[in-house]
């Protein structure tokens, strides 16, 4: 991946002693993952067709928003340009395709989940507890590498289908029947 080498390079040179990747590199990685998620998610057909762009929205993480702006400007997914928005509140999430919710907004999750399920938004957050709040994908760091877990039921509740290719590279996939 584009950023892997950078990550390895940075990790080896400066922050090797730290338990987590450096901030800037981690935001960029997350930005790349968000973009890649968009490749493996299947929205209902009208959600993609009616809108001019695939919109990635960020709630409560300006660093990530900036990283998105820097690394994804002009990129295309499924023949549509990527759109990047910073949301002040969850209310603006109706027109998003992917919504990243920072840990600070976990308390608003019930409202957000209800909203995004209506509007078929892929809900991405951080930490194992994010899935418990009703998110679909949650980032996590393991062995100094950025990984992610998936709650397939949450995704399908929002009317989204996740590609098996995506599920294959997820660290953990939870389903209602308990399979992983």
């Amino acid at each position: 991946m584009v950023l892997t080498g950078l990550l390895v390079l940075l990790g080896a040179c400066s922050e090797a002693a730290l338990g987590a990747p450096p901030q800037a590199a981690e935001e960029e990685l997350k930005a790349a993952f968000l973009f890649n998620f968009a490749k493996y998610v299947e929205w209902p057909a009208d959600i993609v067709a009616e809108r001019p762009s695939i919109d990635l929205c960020v709630l409560g993480d300006d660093l990530l928003h900036d990283a998105l702006q820097q690394t994804l400007r002009g990129k295309v997914v499924r023949d549509k340009p990527i759109g990047i928005r910073r949301l002040a509140s969850a209310q603006g999430a109706a027109g998003c395709h992917v919504l990243f919710v920072a840990g600070a907004h976990h308390d608003d999750m019930p409202g957000i989940v209800a909203l995004v399920q209506r509007h078929h938004v892929l809900l991405v957050g951080e930490g194992p507890e994010f899935l418990a709040h009703g998110g679909a994908i949650a980032f996590g760091v393991e062995d100094n590498r950025l990984r992610f877990d998936v709650d397939a039921d949450a995704a399908s509740s929002a009317g989204l289908k996740l590609s098996s290719q995506l599920l294959k590279v997820a660290r953990h996939v939870s389903r209602r029947d308990g399979g992983s």
């Binding site: 584009v2 950023l3 990550l7 490749k39 295309v76 499924r78 995506l166 590279v169």
Partner: protein, 632 residues
């Protein structure tokens, strides 16, 4: 041994085997190459498919930096035993994941692999296949896999082994087949060769080769047989021609022996009796008999020579006829008259039965008389004392038929076909009972055919006589009974003729005997004869004595008769320039006669000359001169 000297069957065998071997070798090489290529394609196809799958399945792992998952995906290559190693490089050319069998390093990324979406390369018994990994149309990495082609080399050995086995088997099969097949070609040729050897060694041209096929070899054998047949035929013809030539040669030798014998026989009585006459002790009766004997034998010899001359004319095609309408009956009578004395002497009865009103034939009376005289003379000769000879004349179907039948000794049936052949006599041995040259009947046949007629012989066999039939075509017109024209040629023998008393005759001849003999004849006839032994002597005589008739020889030493007559003809008339001249010469051919007459002679007499004829001719010439000069 060179190839060209090999037996044909070896050549055929070699041809077949070499052809088969060449074809098989090509097929085997093609087989090996095809199999190798097919195997390479198969391996390439396999690796390419696997690389395609990996490059598709590994996209998400690469996107999400999941080496674990990428390793698992790459691990699908491990199932393929020919894969030595595989590696995935990210879009910057950095290794992402890799694996390889022990002892082999994972494939490296060549710079050109990043520029092409797919490709492969064979080298060093390895196949390297690479595929670009793409996401959303963008290259995000490359998968490279390297396969082991050493199995290819093993397969190659295996293929070569199979090809060699097939090749050997096929060559053996080709040998077996062509061993059988070449016999079809070589056997007939060998048979032909053996036949040719037999023919060549034994000179036996009756041998034939068997032709069992209709192909070129069959044609060759048939042609060979045809050639043998032609050689055999030519051989037979040569043998026949040789036999014929030898026969003809023998006949000629015998004929020469007969000629010399026949010419010598009359000489004995002539010499004996002339010797007795010279002794002068014979009484008048004996003298008369001596003269008769000498005369008869000289005539026999003259007849022999005439026959020889006739044959010579016949052979050279110079025999000419003086054709007139003549009465055959009269000619037969003349012939009978001339044969009668010898018939009487031998007590052979002559019976003549002539149809009275036969129509005339176109003929030369002298020659026809010769024909009948020959037949009659033969008949009398071969008829024993007390026998009879009959001659008949009849007109049958527009032809005059003359039959001469005798009661003589007849003819062997085997000799009948040869009766009319020249030089052929039934008995040519020196002990034969009858003289003669064997020319008479050949002259008879020739002259008869020259008259447009034919002659045939029939005989019941030895001792039963024979019959000769001459058939001549008649000419239109009434029956005639003309005097035979030949009568004036064959003047009555021994008839003493006289010339005008005192007729002056100059006789020129280099032979003293001839001078004396002829001179005596003419003098006896009443002429005044002078003689000259050469042309110049004759010219001298003319100086003071111009004769009424000149009788001159032709062949003389120094100046010949031609020169003499030309010189005399250049003299004025009163000096004898127009004196009638008779050539008396042994040059008896017709061209000699023409030449003589052209040179200035009025007449030609052949030696030996009949006395009466000589006198008659001299008389006639003197008379014509007298008649022509009288008015002048």
């Amino acid at each position: 041994m060179r190839f060209r000297d090999l037996p044909i069957r070896r050549k055929l065998l070699l041809f077949n085997v070499a052809t088969s071997a060449a074809a098989l070798l090509l097929v085997c090489i093609a087989f090996v190459f095809y199999e190798l290529e097919a195997y390479r394609r198969e391996v390439l196809q396999r690796l390419a498919t696997e690389a395609d799958m990996v490059s598709y399945n590994i996209v998400s792992a690469l996107l999400f930096d999941d080496q674990e998952s990428a390793s698992a995906t790459l691990g699908s290559f491990r199932a393929d035993p020919i894969v030595l190693g595989a590696a995935v490089y990210d879009d910057r050319g950095e290794p992402f994941v890799a694996f390889s069998v022990p002892g082999v390093s994972p494939p490296r990324l060549d710079p050109e692999m990043r520029r092409a979406p797919a490709g492969h390369a064979f080298h060093n018994a390895r196949l390297v296949v690479f595929r670009a990994i793409e996401s959303e149309g963008q290259p995000i990495g490359t998968v490279v896999v390297v396969g082991d082609l050493t199995e290819l080399n093993q397969r190659l050995l295996w293929y070569v082994a199979i090809a060699a086995a097939v090749f050997l088997g096929a060559i053996l099969a080709a040998l077996a087949i062509s061993w059988r097949a070449q016999r079809a070609i070589s056997q007939p040729i060998l048979h032909l060769v053996r036949t040719a050897r037999v023919v060549s060694a034994q000179r036996d041209y009756s041998v034939r080769a068997r032709a069992e096929s209709e192909d070129e070899i069959g044609l060759l054998i048939r042609t060979f047989n045809d050639m043998l047949a032609q050689i055999q035929q030519r051989d037979d013809e040569l043998a026949a021609a040789r036999d014929q030539a030898e026969g003809a040669n023998r006949a000629k030798d015998e004929f020469l022996a007969v000629v010399s014998h026949e010419l010598r026989t009359p000489l004995t009585p002539i010499l004996a009796w002339s010797s007795l006459l010279r002794q002068g002790r014979l009484d008048p009766a004996a003298i008369q008999r001596a003269i008769d004997i000498i005369d008869r034998n000289a005539r026999v010899q003259a007849q022999l020579i005439n026959d020889l001359l006739d044959v010579s004319r016949i052979v050279s095609g110079k025999m000419k006829l003086d054709l007139r309408a003549i009465d055959v009956g009269a000619v037969i009578e003349a012939a009978v008259d001339s044969i009668r004395p010898s018939a009487l002497a031998k007590h052979v009865q002559l019976e003549v039965a002539l149809a009275p009103h036969a129509r005339p034939v176109a003929g030369d009376a002298a020659r026809l008389q010769q024909v009948f005289w020959n037949l009659l003379s033969n008949a009398v000769k071969f008829t024993p004392e007390g026998g009879s000879v009959s001659v008949s004349l009849a007109e049958v179907d527009g032809r005059v038929e003359v039959a001469v039948t005798d009661t003589g000794e007849g003819i062997e049936p085997a000799f009948l076909p040869y009766v009319f052949e020249r030089f052929r006599q039934q008995d040519a041995t020196s002990t034969r009972a009858h003289g003669g040259l064997g020319l008479g009947l050949s002259i008879v046949r020739y002259l008869t055919e020259l008259h447009g007629g034919s002659v045939a012989v029939a005989s019941e066999g030895p001792g039963r006589g024979s019959t000769f039939r001459v058939s001549l075509p008649v000419v239109g017109g009434r029956p005639v009974r003309a005097a035979p024209a030949g009568a004036e040629v064959h003047a009555p023998r021994g008839a003493a003729t006289v010339v005008s008393p005192g007729l002056r005759v100059l006789l020129v001849d280099d032979d003293p005997d001839t001078l004396e003999t002829v001179g005596t004849v003419l003098a006896t006839a009443g002429a005044e004869v002078r003689t000259a032994a050469s042309a110049s002597e004759a010219t001298d005589v003319f100086e003071h004595w111009v004769p009424d008739v000149l009788v001159s020889d032709i062949g003389m030493p120094g100046e010949d008769g031609y020169s003499l007559i030309r010189r005399l003809r250049s003299l004025p008339q009163d000096r004898g320039g127009r004196v009638p001249a008779v050539a008396l010469t042994a040059y008896a051919r017709s061209e000699d006669r023409v030449k003589l007459l052209a040179a200035g002679f009025q007449m030609h007499l052949a030696k030996p000359v009949d006395q009466a004829e000589l006198v008659a001719v001299v008389n006639r010439l003197a008379g014509s001169v007298r008649e022509s000069s009288k008015p002048a």
